[in-house]
């Protein structure tokens, strides 16, 4: 049975979602994850975790780590273990090794949004991870084929901005410094926008946190049209990101997805309700393909 997996704005917002019977949340830990809309400290995880027995928290530790980080990482892992947190989203194979060394038991989710693209890799890595966040750049057929060929827990993003790029470099800070511009905020709460000079459709959000720079899509992926396929094929978690979306719109979107999942509305109703939310959307790669061979590239670009 597919479940919705969602982001929070603040602690109060959790009640909105519990009311919709949604109990699976991604929580970003300050310093240990890429900054998103809400980034909390460990003490706050404890508070959320205690709110409802059925709450299922996925603690996001999706950074790449350096040797210097491992003392604090060890200590946070021990504390999470004490809190009986079970599910961690990670991006760095070093964390798998550290957890093994510490003798802790977590259900690890491989959170790479660019590397989980085929079933054989996922099957192999299932020796180390319980679940996988499937890369955003694969299409519906590819997702379903992965589902057919593995028992791993699978997550797919069904709504929101998609991460396109992460860099250790402070690309905005550097740009402002190089051109002697007055610094402004460009963090996860105040992203800037880039537009390709040659194609205005290529437009993205860009922001920095203390660990680097991130670029996300400008439009929100909207997988309403594909939800049925995900549900009947038992994709375990359907993720809705709230990044750069106002609280009210997000709640309405979650409500639509939740109602469709619970079958209290049908697809047509869901789509018409969606129109009222008034957010720019796309189907991203769900119905699309990328090319990579020189011949295919030439053909596509009409060379």
């Amino acid at each position: 049975m597919s479940k919705l997996l969602i982001d929070l704005y603040d602690f109060d917002s959790i009640n909105d979602y519990l009311a919709l019977n949604i109990k699976s949340f991604i929580i970003n830990l300050q310093e240990f994850s890429t900054e998103k809309t809400l980034n909390v400290f460990l003490e706050q995880v404890e508070i959320i975790n205690d709110l409802d027995d059925e709450i299922e928290l996925f603690i996001n530790l999706d950074r790449l780590y350096y040797n210097d980080d491992f003392n604090s990482l060890s200590s946070i892992l021990k504390k999470l273990n004490k809190l009986k947190i079970r599910k961690l989203i990670i991006n760095d194979a070093g964390v798998v090794e550290l957890i093994k060394e510490l003798g802790l038991k977590f259900e690890l989710i491989n959170g790479s949004n660019t590397l989980n693209t085929n079933y054989q890799t996922i099957e192999f890595l299932s020796n180390y991870y319980r679940g996988f966040y499937l890369s955003n750049e694969i299409n519906l057929n590819e997702i379903l084929k992965i589902r057919d060929n593995t028992n791993a827990m699978l997550m797919v993003q069904v709504f929101g901005k998609q991460l396109m790029f992460s860099s250790k470099r402070k690309l905005l800070t550097s740009y402002f410094q190089f051109h002697h511009l007055d610094l402004i905020d460009f963090n996860s709460q105040n992203p800037l926008i880039i537009k390709d000079l040659n194609d205005i459709n290529n437009k993205s959000y860009i922001y920095e946190d203390s660990n680097g720079t991130y670029v996300t899509t400008y439009k929100n992926v909207n997988a309403l049209d594909y939800l049925y396929d995900f549900i009947v094929n038992d994709i375990d978690y359907l993720y809705l990101s709230n990044l750069f979306i106002d609280r009210n719109s997000y709640l309405r979107v979650v409500n639509i997805f939740s109602s469709l999942l619970e079958q209290t509305i049908n697809l047509d109703m869901a789509k018409s309700m969606f129109k009222d939310v008034n957010l720019e959307v796309s189907s991203s790669f769900l119905n699309d393909e990328t090319v990579f061979n020189l011949e295919d590239i030439k053909k596509m670009e009409g060379i």
Partner: protein, 397 residues
């Protein structure tokens, strides 16, 4: 002190030979399948076989990159391909997707495997993870500083490889989808359109921050760590890698021979100061501004490229020496040159001559004033024998 491997890229068989003859200890190459850099010419299995024979003859090594991130449809033929590479006796493969490791283990294929920089390996625990998977080498993330590298080296007994020269992804390798979203070209399967180097307008809400003189770009300066080599060698690093499977033979010859000189001079005489000659050589090969990357910590705008005018395509390479008999050099022309041009000749056996072109002869030994045609066979009078694959470059003042 341990001598590190100098590892060079090779986009085709000719480049493989040039890289090895000019001093690389090993080359990495891509086959027709499963390799990033779809625009590089890439090797057929026959070419790989010949390249391996050539390298092994000189006691050097060939690694084959099998470094795409596979989609379901790309899995077909992987086992057979790895079997072939094993049979050809390549010295190792460089892989990014764990499906390659799985296939090698599952079918007991006799191949060493290195984990590509596409996995962005930045810490000792991650190195241990891949060591436990059976990897014989890890290619470190380009974001690693020298101090971090030293610590990583002290904490592991598998080989570590570190990039020292060439172009760099501005993103963590393997974690960039700009090209996928902006041009439908999959960067993790070799189709990257280098969207990071494009010009962008930058906005804060509706207010444009950029203007026509300062468009936003994410372009990175190329890496040049020549002056850090002595430190890297002292750290015990196993392999020093040069980037650029798409680069020209001139670039390869220049960069590889410069690094060879610097390494050898340091190991033989402890000379830490890189000679001007080598710095000059590397600058001649560069077509973009270079920087130090992350090696001495992180210096924000110093490693970014904000000004396209900092790109300066090289036109100095004028000819490849095919043969010499002590009287004439037989040359294949690569860029226009003429009588009275000042030129330099350098070769794989550290030959170096500087002279003025007094006379040029065409294929029939008729005197001509200019050599205008690419690949034209010409002759220059030269009273010394030099190695095949020596190169001529114009001195541009």
């Amino acid at each position: 002190m341990k001598k590190p491997e100098l590892l060079a890229p090779a986009g085709d068989l000719n480049k493989l030979k040039i890289a090895l003859l000019y001093g690389a200890d090993a080359v990495y190459i891509g086959g027709k399948q499963f390799s990033l850099r779809s625009a590089a010419s890439n090797f057929s299995l026959e070419d790989i076989k010949e390249g391996v024979l050539f390298a092994h003859y000189y006691s050097k090594k060939v690694y084959v990159v099998v470094n795409i991130i596979f989609h379901n449809d790309n899995l077909v033929g992987l086992k057979e391909y790895l079997d072939e590479l094993s049979e050809i006796r390549v010295d190792g493969i460089i892989c990014a997707d764990m499906v390659v490791v799985d296939t090698i283990k599952k079918y007991h294929i006799n191949l060493n495997y290195h984990i590509s920089t596409q996995q962005s390996i930045t810490n000792s625990y991650a190195i241990k993870f891949y060591k436990n998977l059976g990897a014989s080498r890890v290619v470190l993330a380009r974001e690693i500083s020298f101090d971090q590298l030293k610590e990583l080296k002290e904490n592991t007994d598998i080989e570590l490889e570190y990039f020292v020269h060439g172009a760099m992804c501005v993103a963590y390798s393997g974690r960039c989808m700009l090209s996928n979203y902006y041009s439908k070209r999959d960067s993790n399967r070799g189709g990257c359109s280098q969207s990071c180097r494009w010009n962008y307008q930058l906005f804060n809400d509706d207010n444009e921050i950029s203007n026509k003189d300062n468009y936003f770009t994410m372009s990175s300066k190329d890496l040049n760590l020549a002056s850090y080599l002595y430190l890297l060698i002292a750290s015990g690093i196993d392999s020093l890698k040069i980037e650029g499977r798409m680069k020209s033979i001139y670039y390869l010859a220049t960069v590889v021979s410069s690094y060879r000189n610097i390494i050898d001079e340091y190991l033989a005489n402890g000379i830490e100061q890189v000679r001007d000659f080598n710095i000059d050589n590397l600058n001649k090969a560069a077509n973009r501004a270079t920087g130090n990357g992350f090696i001495d910590g992180y210096h924000y705008e110093d490693i970014q490229l904000y000004n396209n005018r900092e790109e300066h395509p090289t036109k100095e390479f004028i000819g490849l020496v095919l043969d010499s008999d002590g009287e004439y050099l037989k040359i294949e022309q690569r860029n226009n040159f003429k009588v009275n041009d000042d030129v330099e000749l350098f070769g794989p056996n550290k030959e170096f001559y500087s002279f003025k072109v007094m006379e040029i002869f065409d294929e029939n030994k008729n005197s001509i004033e200019v050599a205008p045609h690419p690949q034209q066979i010409i002759y220059l009078k030269f009273d010394k024998k030099v190695s095949p694959y020596s190169m001529l470059r114009k001195v541009i003042s």
